[in-house]
Amino acid sequence: MTEDLRAKLRDELLREALLEDVQPHIQRGVAFLVRGVSLLDAGLVLATDDKDTLQRWLTDRTIQKPQEHDLARWTQERTRFAALIVAPFLLLQEEAPGAQA
């Protein structure tokens, strides 16, 4: 089941998203930035309602709301994102500079 879900989430992964695509969701406060783990892992934690892992990631800021300085940097650097919808939330991850697809 988990592998099926991961595969489905992988299919939903949106890549090369622009800031203007995700900004409305950031402004609504439903977008979360994921650092250090893959979007799929983060999405899976939400999808399986793994509260303990999510709590830990919120604590160590693996998952956090975008900060103002993030927005400023993204605007300046024209950052692109990978995005994963886990309704009603949107998980975001910065594209690594020069990351391979």
């Binding site: 949106l14 622009l18 695509d21 250090g36 939400l46 999808a47 309602d49 509260k51 309704a87 939330f89």
Partner: protein, 429 residues
């Protein structure tokens, strides 16, 4: 252009995640807006008279004082240590760190500017030693950290400045940025503040430093990657770009190419680096020697051993990653990812360091989890150096394309090299 994102999952309904109360509650708690507070106060001069039309700033929010000197900052969420700043014409800026954000009524008394009433307006003429086409922007420094750009095309340039009155230690100098490759550098000695009137400022031409770069073992052929060389000048802890060299293929074998550097007339240590993307994986050697006498760089040869400075692929020695430092970077990010196309996202490890070395066991818990999940696959390691935020190029050089310096290419590292990887005690359930 990507399509607009709508929060409608394409998952089949049977697989669509409906957030359970626990995770949903956790994230929903994060979505609640921070409490917005209001800061009010009054701005007065030392005699207690209200100061109208003064600006009060906190965390980027600005409020202007009314005729009664009162201000009202709204939409703020201050924390201890945030700086409340007030500026008013004729007064020095006044700042107050908030120690207790709940103390929202603050009375500000700016100090009057000690020389505001005695400042002078000067018409300054910048004069070249001889008529010449310059076509560049110089920066006039008033000695107080402020830089005024002055465009100098040919001959003289005139500019009007408001400066302190004589006796205030006023200094004026012209600074030429080092955008490289540059044409000329000019400097003007510090000036004593004259009385009101005109001042003719003679510019002195500052010779640049000419180095010769010898390229060896460059790949031949028209399709060889270009050489993009940056030379930085490091002096007393600050680093600036002294010059750049860009060469397109084909390269002549063992070519000597002149490299004009602007070291701003000062002693400095040179460090060099290459844009790795411009020549990935090449065997190459670049040696430098100076042919400029009478300056700090005249000791020959300049000990730049580029093979040691080249940003080579990260070497994994045991659990330690090493790489070549970037002269302008103090912040490094490490990316480690499996090669299956998973999004690696933000770096697994970031650090401000002057050492080009990271020890893998220091990776945080998510990184350990990342490394653990599939031992059968090779992994990719990449190190990216970010330029220091305080990197100073006088605002004249566009580094927008260099905001992130790739210190290494993606390099495949067999998982076995990373292993054995024992779970950290904190990771154990």
């Amino acid at each position: 252009m990507t399509p607009a994102i709508h929060l409608q999952s394409a998952l089949p309904r049977r697989l669509r995640w409906l957030p359970g109360l626990s995770c949903a509650a956790l994230l929903a708690a994060c979505t609640e807006p921070p409490p917005q507070r209001v800061l009010t106060g009054n701005l007065t001069d030392p005699r207690g008279a209200p100061l109208p039309d003064a600006a009060v700033t906190l965390n980027g929010e600005v409020a202007l004082t009314g005729q009664d000197g009162s201000f009202r900052l709204t939409g703020i969420d201050p924390e201890p240590g945030d700086l409340l700043t007030a500026t008013a014409a004729g007064f020095t800026a006044w700042s107050l760190p908030l120690e207790e954000p709940r103390a929202f009524t603050v009375r500000l008394i700016p100090r009057p500017h000690p020389t505001a009433a005695t400042s002078a307006t000067l018409d300054i003429t910048l004069a070249l030693p001889r008529p010449a086409e310059v076509d560049r922007t110089l920066f006039l420094s008033l000695g107080n950290g402020q830089l005024l750009p002055v465009y100098l095309y040919v001959g003289n340039a005139e500019v009007t400045l408001t400066v302190p009155a004589p006796g205030e230690g006023f200094a004026l100098s012209a600074i030429s940025p080092a955008p490289g490759p540059f044409e000329r550098a000019f400097a003007a000695p510090p000036q004593q503040a004259p009385p009101q009137g005109a001042l003719r400022l003679a510019l002195e031409e500052v010779p640049g430093q000419t180095l010769t770069a010898t390229l060896r073992n460059r790949p031949q052929g028209d399709d060889a990657p270009p050489l993009d060389l940056a030379v930085a000048c490091s002096r007393q802890g600050s680093t600036f770009l002294a010059g750049r060299l860009h060469l397109d293929a084909p390269f002549p074998p063992d070519a000597d190419v002149p490299l004009l550097l602007d070291t701003r007339g000062a002693t400095c240590d040179l460090v060099a680096t290459l844009d790795l993307d411009a020549g990935r994986g090449d065997a190459r050697h670049v040696a430098f020697s100076s042919n400029h006498d009478g300056d700090a760089l005249s000791e020959q040869p300049i000990p730049l051993d580029l093979p040691d400075l080249l940003p080579l692929a990260p070497r994994l020695s045991g659990r330690t990653l090493t790489w070549t430092p970037h002269p302008q970077a103090t912040l490094y990010d490490v990316y480690i990812a499996p090669d299956d196309g998973d999004r690696v996202g933000a770096p697994l490890w970031s650090a401000t360091t002057d050492r080009a070395e990271l020890t893998l066991p220091e990776l945080p818990a998510p990184a350990r989890q990342r490394l653990d999940f599939d031992a059968a696959r090779p992994h990719l390691v990449r190190i990216v150096a970010r330029l220091a935020p305080g990197f100073d190029l006088q605002g004249a050089w566009d580094w927008s394309a260099y905001h992130a310096y790739v210190a290494s290419p993606w390099t495949e590292v067999p998982y076995s090299t990373l292993a054995p990887w024992r779970p950290h005690p904190e990771d154990s359930p």
